[in-house]
């Protein structure tokens, strides 16, 4: 297994519960507890369903099985078969039924068992969910949330390990979030359900067991990046599992006297460009880290935003991208590990960038 060291990143202290004050299941608002990322998702789903009759779940094996990653364990018992709906293996119908139900005022949360299976439902996601509000001249909305475990690291090979966020960032009309911590897993999901637009929540499967402090009822507004640490030598922008790796690399670098800023966009569409540009301008050096293959990946967009803005003038060195190999994901554990940026890769790239002109 190539599970990376996943440092517990600091909780979201700048953004305490500032959304609708929904009481957390079994926890007093304001309480902060240690939860795993999977628990944070589960607790949020529980809260939302308890709180709003319109919320219901659909997906493959989400009932008694609890989902392929156990995220929905226990929800069937609590909410019953009408609201926790095990589906046949029919991704078009799962997403499409979500679109139709959302159009009629429900708040469906559908799960795709692996994010790779968006490929089976792209029409419904891209041509229907994302476009209906615009195409209909604003006469309808599609408050659909699609949850999907993304990323590699489990030896599941090329069809179960993709990080496809860039595709959806390129689709106007859908919002895309990539929580990197248990707190964000809760907060962003809550915001996603609260939003009248379709939102794709890409959970990273290597993070499900990661623990972190989570304020009860936590809410993280969509479209707000988080500065996870600040340093003056260089700015790392990283997404999903790469946030934790960047934080671990930052510790190592700090030990050598290199101080880095780590920015986690959290929502990649709409992107919090202002925060990213400010933080890059502050150090003049940008290292962009993603797990997805490099070519036309999401951090290319960040590179473009940097160099077409005033931040360009603050740059002291070329922008550096660290990304997955431009290959399908290989099965063998060592090959898989070699295919995505690891902590030492980040350290090396950051060191070089920090020391270079």
């Amino acid at each position: 297994m190539t599970t990376p060291t996943s440092p517990t990143v600091s909780p979201d202290v700048d953004n305490p519960t500032d959304g609708p004050g929904v009481a957390a299941a079994g926890a007093t608002p304001g309480d902060t507890r240690e939860l795993t990322y999977a628990e944070a998702v589960r607790e949020t789903l529980t809260d939302l369903m308890a709180d709003d009759e319109r919320v219901f779940l659909m997906g493959e094996d989400i009932g008694v099985y609890g989902g392929a990653f156990g995220v929905t364990t226990g929800l069937l018992e609590r909410f019953g078969r009408e609201r926790v709906r095990d589906t046949p293996i029919s991704e078009i119908a799962i997403v499409g039924a979500g679109v139709g139900a959302a159009l009629c005022g429900m708040l469906p949360i559908v799960e795709l068992q692996f994010s790779d299976f968006v490929t089976c439902a792209m029409d419904q996601i891209v041509n229907q969910a994302a476009k209906i509000h615009f195409m209909l001249g604003g006469a309808a909305q599609v408050p659909l949330v699609i949850r999907a475990p993304a990323g590699s690291g489990t030896g599941a090979a090329a069809q179960h390990s993709q990080s496809l966020e860039a595709w959806f960032a390129h689709v106007p009309g859908i919002k895309v979030v990539m929580p990197a911590t248990p707190a964000d897993a809760m907060g962003l999901l809550r915001a996603a359900v609260d939003d009248p637009n379709p939102v794709l929540v890409l959970e990273h499967k290597l993070l499900y067991k990661q623990k972190g402090e989570v304020p009860a009822g936590h809410y993280v507004p969509l479209g707000k990046a988080e500065v996870r640490r600040r340093g003056s030598d260089l700015t790392i922008v990283a997404t999903a599992v790469m946030v934790g790796k960047a934080m671990a690399a930052a510790e190592e670098l700090a030990a050598e006297g290199i101080e880095v800023t780590v920015v986690d966009p959290r929502t990649i569409s709409p992107l919090d460009e202002a925060t990213i540009l400010t933080e890059v301008a502050a150090t003049g050096k940008a290292l962009l880290v993603q797990e997805a293959p490099r070519n036309a990946g999401f951090v290319a967009e960040i590179a473009a935003r940097i160099v077409e803005s005033d931040a360009f003038h603050t740059l002291k060195a070329p922008v550096v991208r660290l990304a997955g190999l431009d290959t399908p994901m290989a099965y063998a554990p060592e090959l898989e590990k070699a295919s995505v940026p690891q902590i030492p890769d980040i350290v090396v790239a950051a060191r070089r960038l920090a020391k270079g002109a």
Binding site: G96, M135, D195
Partner: protein, 336 residues
């Protein structure tokens, strides 16, 4: 079962609806030919009994999803002609504010969840809408219109099965007009009746003469009752024919003039007029009046729509229109 031809009010309404759809599309055809309309469009002339008979079998608050060939569904479900025409003419007062055009007209207020540019794309959406009705116990039924061609999309299959296993209140209305663009249904299917596909999902399927308004009305009524009673979906195959080309670029090379002429002989409107005459529910002047009312309404719609301002070509307005306002919350516009 009611006999629509025998009831003056129902007969008048059916006739006026069919004529309105017909006149609307004839007008669109001409506006296109004269270069006054833009984009592409798909006319359902010759298929009006399918849309009309189906919608007459529904309650006002029942829902439909429609297709690229959706004008007659829209009319039959009660849409405002001026807003339809305004949309096609790319006006700000159109149903979609000029952003959707013919393939995306919806009228949420009359229960039309929208046409669709993707063949089969509306079917899973209809199933989801039906699920919402079931979950909320609204008692409403959803009709999903689609073509023969669409029945070969994966979306049809998955949606039909889901509706079946969950006993959802949906009626699948397949308008088999013999062609998917140029592809003859004979070549796209190795079965005689598309309705036979219902057997693959465990619900009833029936093939209907889609040019016989009463037959369509009866079948959809039965299917809607079944759906409303919580007994699940039905597949109703309305066999019909489109008189015009698939879209403006069609040269009709895949079918004969004789075939088209033979089907024009089976004009669904004429047939229903004959039935009404036979039933004696409306007089000839009343029949003519229904037709004239439709003609006038369409003419008036064109006039009003034409006079309206064009959709403004403002980039900021467009960018603002992509997302629903998050501050307004996720409150539904269609009360389910």
């Amino acid at each position: 079962m009611r006999d629509l031809a025998k009831e003056p009010e129902a007969a008048r309404r059916a006739l006026e609806t069919m004529w309105t759809a017909r006149r609307f599309e004839e007008a669109v055809d001409q506006l296109f030919a004269r270069g006054l309309m833009h984009g592409t469009m798909h006319l359902s002339i010759g298929q009006e009994a399918s849309a009309t008979g189906t919608c007459l079998a529904l309650r006002d608050d029942d829902l439909i999803t429609s297709t690229h060939r959706g004008h007659s569904h829209c009319v039959a479900k009660g849409a405002n002609l001026t807003r339809m025409m305004a949309e096609l003419l790319a006006k700000d007062s159109g149903y979609c504010r000029g952003r959707g055009g013919s393939m995306h007209i919806a009228d949420v207020a009359t229960g039309n969840l929208g046409a669709n540019g993707i063949v089969g794309g509306g079917i899973p959406i209809a199933v989801g809408a039906a699920l919402a009705q079931k979950l909320t116990g609204s008692g409403k039924v959803v009709v999903s219109f689609f073509g023969d061609g669409a029945a070969n999309e994966g979306a049809f299959h998955e949606a039909a099965n889901l509706a079946a296993v969950w006993d959802l209140p949906v009626v699948f209305v397949c308008e088999n007009n013999h062609y998917g663009m140029s592809m003859a249904a004979d070549e796209a299917f190795a079965i005689d009746n598309i309705s036979a596909r219902a057997g693959a999902y465990g619900f009833p399927g029936v093939t209907v003469d889609g040019n016989d308004l009463q037959a369509v009305y009866e079948m959809v009524t039965t299917a809607a009752e079944r759906a409303r009673a919580g007994r699940g979906p039905t597949l109703v195959e309305n066999v019909t024919y489109r008189w015009k080309g698939h879209s403006k670029s069609d040269k009709n090379l895949y079918r004969t003039r004789e075939e088209i002429a033979a089907w024009q002989e089976r004009d669904p409107i004429t047939r229903f007029e004959d039935a009404v005459r036979k039933a004696g529910s409306l007089t000839d002047p009343e029949i003519t009046a229904a037709r004239k009312a439709a003609t006038d309404a369409v003419r008036e719609a064109i006039r009003t729509a034409n006079a309206a301002p064009a959709a403004p070509a403002d980039r900021d307005l467009l960018l603002d229109a992509v997302y629903a306002d998050a501050d307004a919350g996720n409150h539904a516009e269609v009360p389910a």
